[in-house]
Structures are given as C-alpha cells and as structure tokens.
C-alpha cells in the first residue's frame, strides 16, 4: 500500500511540476488556463478476476469532468484534470450473474497534449492531438464486494492515453477517445487481490472549451 501511494505521489509530483514550470516558449503564451468540460461514456474491462470463478465487471457508465490546459508551445498543452463517474457492478460466475452494487471513481490527472495531425491552426477542424496523463484514481464502492472489501477508497496509480479531434472551427468542441488504466491489488496482507493488475477503461466522448 505504502509503495502504491508513493508511486502515485511521485507521478503527481512530476506532472504538477511540468504544469507549473512551463518552457521558455510558454513564457510567451498566456498563463491563464483554458478550461474544458468533458463528458464521456466509459466501457471497462473487468475490475477483478477470482481464481474461484467470479468476475467483477463494471457496467457502461457516464464520466464527466473538467480540465485546465496551459499552452506551453505551438503544438503542446499541459493539462490538469478532474474526472468523476459512477458505475454499476455485475458479478459473474459461469452462467450466473448477480448485482454487485454501485461504485464511484474520481480521477486526478496531469498530462500533456501534443498536436499530431491536421492542425494548420489549433482551431482547425480535424486537428488531432495525442494525449497522455498520469495521476491517481480514487475508487469506492460496496464494502461487501472486492475490490472494495479490504481498504476501498484508496488512490490507485493511474495513466491515460488517447486522442482528441477537433470537430468544429467556430466552437471548441472536440471528440475524445481515451484509454484510462489504473493499478489495483497486491497492497496488503489482508487484501485477497494478491496479484496486482491493470484495470482498463475505454472512454468515448466529447470536450467543450469554456
């Protein structure tokens, strides 16, 4: 657990340092952030697999959040974002399926976006940027279901990777495709998830400049 939290702290520190220390070119850019509202639908891989047969599977869920972005170069923007969502859990074993209650997730992520195609101007329609981010995912849910049974509500190291494609020139509306992953398990003698692994969510949605 201590190791896991330490990794998250280091990841956050690196990202926030990047965000707070813009390059020389950024000195010429505006220091006020651009604000974006984001909304997406998340489709996830199972959260946990149990060797006895149970799979903990998150349902398709809405995710929303807000991101602040600082232009640090012609093609580069450094971002800090907060996203949250709620999802239901299905528990499956062979042909059986039963309700695992609801879970909540908050992501605190810092990252970088870099224009990779179609960006004659930042506002060009079709301008495509690659996104990468590091940070932490806070996960909470029913305390009678793994992974929340033993010390749920922890901050898990997280990373995200994806692309953003500008849809309109006159309005800052973009489509997002993002893979968000976080590490779970292996963090304590009591925790039966002794083999840590990666929970992965694919998010499809939009982003609007405020």
């Amino acid at each position: 657990m201590a190791h896991s939290n330490r990794s998250t702290e280091i990841a956050l520190a690196v990202v926030l340092t990047l965000a707070s220390a813009p390059s020389a070119s950024a000195q010429r850019s505006t220091r006020a952030p651009n604000w974006y509202a984001e909304a997406a639908v998340s489709i996830a891989r199972p959260l946990v697999e149990d060797g006895n047969g149970t799979t903990v599977r998150p349902g398709i869920s809405p995710v929303g959040g807000i991101t602040a972005g600082w232009l640090t170069g012609v093609r580069t923007m450094v971002t800090v974002g907060l996203q949250g969502g709620a999802f239901s859990l299905r528990l499956e074993d062979g042909g059986d399926s039963w309700n695992g209650g609801n879970a909540w997730q908050v992501d605190i992520m810092g990252g970088v976006e870099y224009q990779i195609a179609g960006c004659a101007e930042r506002s060009s329609r079709g301008c495509t940027s690659a996104r990468g981010a590091l940070g932490g995912t806070l996960l909470a849910g029913s305390d009678d279901v793994l992974p929340f049974r033993f010390g749920g509500g922890r901050l898990h190291p997280a990373g995200a990777l994806g692309v953003t494609v500008r849809l309109l020139e006159k309005r800052a509306l973009s489509a997002n495709l993002l893979a968000h992953a976080f590490r779970l398990g292996g963090s304590g003698a009591d925790n039966p998830i002794s083999t840590s692994g990666t929970a992965l969510q694919f998010r499809v949605g939009g982003r609007y400049g405020l």
């Binding site: 891989r45 199972p46 959260l47 946990v48 697999e49 149990d50 060797g51 006895n52 047969g53 149970t54 903990v56 528990l91 074993d93 062979g94 059986d96 399926s97 039963w98 309700n99 695992g100 209650g101 870099y114 990779i116 195609a117 179609g118 495509t128 690659a130 029913s142 009678d144 279901v145 793994l146 992974p147 049974r149 990777l161 994806g162 692309v163 893979a179 992953a181 779970l184 398990g185 292996g186 039966p192 998830i193 002794s194 083999t195 840590s196 692994g197 990666t198 929970a199 992965l200």
Partner: protein, 227 residues
C-alpha cells in the same frame, strides 16, 4: 509523424489491454464440504449466487426468541464476512410463507412437517433437516404443518436444542446457530479441526479462516442440487 503517433498510441493500447487483470488466486477447501449420500456419491449444494435467503424464526416464547434472532443475525454477519462478492444475503421475515429456512428452538411448536420425506439430518446441538428428491437433483420444499408443500418455499428446517447440557452458554448457543447456518449455506460435512465452526461440536461462534475458505470455494462449484 501523425501516422507514427497514432500507431504508437494504438500499440500502447493493445499492450495495455493485454495486461494482467487484478486477480484473486484460486482456493481449495480446507475440508470436504460435500454431502455424502453413500460411499460413491458426494453432492454439492448451495443457493443460487446473489440470492437473498429469507429466514423465519419459530416462536417459543420469552427471551429465547430474541436470543435466537440475535444469534441468526450474528451468524449471518459472520458468514457474510467470509465471502468476497455478496454471494448471498440473509434477512429475517415475519411469515413462514415467505421463508426459505426455518430456525426454531426444540421447544417451539413445529412449523414444517418433517415426516413428509426421509430427510437428511445434519447437526451439532442443533439439527438441519432437508429433503432431496429421489433422482438426487433438487432439495424439495418442506410442507408447512397443516398445509400443502405447494404453499411452502421452505427448504431447510433448523432445530436448536434448548437443553442446558448441550447448550450451556450463550456463546455456545450462538456457535450452534452459526454452525447450522453453515449447513444451510451448503457446507454439508463437518470439519475434523476443533478450531473450526463446522467442527462437530463447535467451540467458537464465528466462521474460522478455514470455514471461510471452504465456503468461498464451495459457492463457486456447480450445485448438484437445485435450490
């Protein structure tokens, strides 16, 4: 440039998607939990996963009824802590018509007719009674006393002894109720380790780690008997 960027992103996504999932290792039972029908036939039974099991407590009168209800709730909490995925929930109901299981003291009037079949008895200061069909495919509903089985959904009748020689302390009483609930949940056999709740004469009132491991394994085996 763009092509390379997208290709790299796609590659990372594919690698990430093939990452190992967070995993709980498989377990084996600490002791044999099957129902021994004969030397060649061992059967597993348990409730459908995710099921709420409704329990009605028979009325003997006095504080014993409150003790029985408290012991059932304590046992339910203990067995619930043993599992990881809310495989079952247990609630008390006010009518035997709504009950899947009857718990009662031996001095309380009978609620189900236990002469309707040659039942199977499992016990330790208490007795868990149930009936299996001839084809060994299902646990049958027990008819309520004075009515037909069609009106009943009761599958288990649990009798707890009120004999102070068998149940000398409140702790022992709670242990017997929790032990019988273990039979109701599917642990048909007894542990040979005296430190386990499912030992023939339990000295504890909550499932041990070995009891918990055995139940977790059992609940994810195919049930031979429909419930």
């Amino acid at each position: 440039m763009a092509y390379r960027g997208i290709s790299a992103a796609a590659l990372v996504l594919v690698l990430c998607a093939s990452c190992e999932l967070p995993t709980v290792p498989s377990e084996s039972p600490a002791y044999e939990p099957s129902l021994f029908v004969d030397f060649q036939t061992r059967l597993i039974y348990h409730w459908p996963l995710g099921r709420t099991i409704s329990i009605y407590t028979g009325i003997a009168g006095g504080s014993a009824d409150d003790d029985l209800r408290a012991a059932i709730l304590s046992a339910a909490a203990g067995w619930n802590r043993a599992v990881y995925y809310r495989e079952f929930d247990i609630r008390l109901v006010n009518s035997p018509l709504d009950a899947d299981v009857i718990f009662h003291l031996d001095v309380a009037p009978p609620i189900v007719d236990t002469n309707s079949c040659e039942g199977i008895l499992l016990g330790a200061g208490g007795v868990t009674y149930f009936c299996v069909d001839e084809g060994l495919t299902a646990i049958l509903s027990l008819p309520l006393a004075g009515s037909s089985s069609a009106q009943s959904r009761v599958k288990f009748d649990v009798t707890i002894s009120s004999d102070p020689l068998q149940v000398p302390t409140r702790e022992r009483f709670f242990g017997i109720v929790a032990h019988e609930m273990g039979h109701v949940l599917g642990i048909a056999s007894h542990s040979s380790d005296s430190a386990d709740l499912m030992f023939t004469a339990p000295s504890i009132s909550q499932p041990s780690a070995r009891d918990a491991r055995t139940l977790r394994w059992l609940l994810h085996q195919p049930s031979d008997l429909d419930l």
